[in-house]
């Protein structure tokens, strides 16, 4: 048990027996995971969870199912204990290329998202400007997405989804192709967004073990089973779950420089290599 005192509340996201087949070929098999509201006395604590797996293991397929963009062949994903499958829009999605509407300015993009929930234009604008300030993009509101740097674009895409979703943010390979500085900033950003509200839940889908370990409180490792002769079986499932809170490896500044963290990353990587 970790040193930080915490308790688990209601279920925020539930993945139940999710299976997916393309043309009869299994891609996902009986994927199960549950994200519950974490409460830490005396501070706002959101949730950051990660789905790790090698390239081609069906992470993006799972990503699209969690986002409500694709339906699974079997099982279901639900949010906030609702007795129905998740719908597109309930989970904010930030994909690898940080898509934005190129024909709208930053403000236009964000207002479009804000007005999906807030019908009053001035209140929506106030909320947008507040988030722009929070994410150091205040002076960028009249620019078009093509005029933003990669990092600014990423933040803008995150704000857009925060404005529209119900506390969920699903990020596809957020660490891919980033230099060390940008990687650290992205990790900080993920932590910052999760800690903006107790119910905020960031779901990271990635193959970057170290970065995922540095931000997540829970990790699920996805992969394919091998048969007796060592051949990979079709269809990925969750092969291992890691609770970083129990291991006292999260919510601590500088944890990534400790030997415990390095050992943990090594352990996950070893498991990863076997997949």
């Amino acid at each position: 048990m970790g040193n930080t005192s915490y308790s688990l509340g209601k279920t925020l996201l539930k993945i139940e027996h999710v299976g997916l087949e393309y043309d009869g070929r299994p891609v996902l098999r009986d994927v199960n995971a549950e994200v519950r509201d974490i409460t830490v006395p005396g501070r706002v604590q959101g949730q950051v969870v990660g789905f790790l797996g090698p390239s081609g293991c069906g992470k993006t397929s799972l990503f699209r199912i969690i986002a409500g963009l694709n339906a699974p062949t079997s099982g279901r994903v639900s949010v906030n204990d609702l007795d129905r499958p998740v719908r597109a829009g309930e989970v904010g999605v930030v994909s690898q290329s940080y898509p934005l509407f190129e024909h709208r300015t930053v403000l236009g993009n964000l207002m479009l998202a804000a007005k999906r929930k807030e019908k009053d234009s001035s209140a929506a604008r106030e909320k947008v400007m507040g988030l722009l300030r929070e994410f150091d993009l205040e002076d960028k509101f009249p620019l078009y997405p093509a005029q933003l740097s990669g990092g600014q674009r990423q933040r803008c895409a995150i704000i857009q989804q925060i404005l529209c979703s119900e506390h969920f943010l699903l990020m596809d390979e957020p660490f891919s192709g980033l230099d060390l500085l940008m990687l650290e900033k992205t990790c900080e950003l993920i932590t910052k967004v999760s800690d903006m509200d107790d119910l905020n839940t960031i779901i990271v889908v990635t193959h970057d073990v170290t970065a995922a370990c540095s931000v997540a409180d829970h990790l699920w490792l996805m992969g394919r089973d091998s048969d007796a002769s060592g051949h990979k079986q079709p269809g990925s499932r969750i092969v291992k779950e890691y609770n970083l809170i129990e291991r006292d490896l999260c919510w601590q500044p500088g944890i990534i420089t400790t030997a415990r963290f390095t050992d943990f990353v090594r352990e996950v990587k070893e498991e990863f290599r076997r997949l």
Binding site: A88, H103, R116, Y144, Q160
Partner: protein, 261 residues
């Protein structure tokens, strides 16, 4: 790399001044080549200018206005018709219809004249319908291609922002492709001028530059033919510039990611 080498280097980007100099040099060279060409059948600039003056005094301006207005009307109708049809491809019902219309661009206008004559009540209507048809089949092909090539992630983005499917159509296909629609319009407005002379040659009521062009061509008055062609070219370029300017004003984001802006 020196300037001379730069203009022949692949993917070189020149500054505005260098582009101006390059264009001025090429236009001057083309003019000199024309003026001093040994090809005797080619009318000289002076002859073309004189023919233009003659025709202008004989009412070329009025014919030009007739043709311009007809073309404008045809382009406007073809644009509305084609955009509506292309946008309708979001519904599977309309996809085969649009695909079929797109295939009709291989048909000859001459072969369709009889069919359109039966439907039209006046010469103007006949010319207009022929032009709208011939521009639309190209326009709808271009625009349907634009819509088909929109990446999936744009639709996903709209859906994750809780847009219903009609709102997705509006945001991603209509608003999101306005800049591309201008490009398609620009191409097809030029096709309109190309078709116009043919249509005015087939249907000679109301006159128009196409009728004059065919008459002068028939009598082998090459200086006059050149003069009309140059006039049409100037008008076409002006129209092209106008559409380009409108695109720049309404879609300032379109050029932001271009290398050669």
């Amino acid at each position: 790399m020196n300037h001379a080498a730069t203009v022949f280097a692949p993917n070189s980007v020149l500054n505005r001044n260098a582009i101006r100099i390059l264009i001025a040099t090429q236009v001057t060279l083309a003019f000199l080549l024309w003026a001093f060409s040994p090809f005797v059948l080619l009318p000289k600039p002076g002859e073309v200018l004189a023919a233009l003056g003659d025709m202008w005094s004989q009412g070329l301006g009025a014919e030009l206005i007739t043709s311009f207005l007809l073309n404008l009307q045809a382009i406007a109708l073809a644009t509305v018709f084609s955009l509506l049809l292309a946008y309708a491809t979001v519904m599977p019902f309309f996809r085969p219809i649009v695909a079929l219309l797109s295939k009709l661009r291989f048909l000859s206008l001459v072969g369709l004249t009889f069919f359109f004559t039966l439907m039209a009540k006046t010469g103007h209507q006949l010319k207009l319908s022929l032009l709208v048809f011939s521009v639309s089949v190209f326009f709808v092909t271009g625009m349907a291609d634009v819509i088909e090539s929109i990446p999936k992630e744009k639709f996903d983005l709209a859906r994750t922002l809780r847009m219903g499917e009609w709102r997705v159509v509006w945001e991603v296909i209509v608003l999101g492709q306005v800049d591309k629609a201008f490009d398609v319009l620009r191409q097809n407005a030029a096709i309109g001028w190309m078709m116009l002379t043919m249509v005015e040659g087939i249907v000679r009521s109301e006159g128009g530059v196409g009728t004059i062009l065919l008459d002068q061509n028939h009598h082998f008055r090459l200086a006059a033919v050149f003069a009309i062609q140059l006039t049409i070219l100037m008008l076409g370029l002006l129209q092209d510039y106008g559409i380009g300017m409108m695109k720049g004003l309404l879609c300032p984001y379109a050029a932001l990611t271009l290398e050669r802006k």
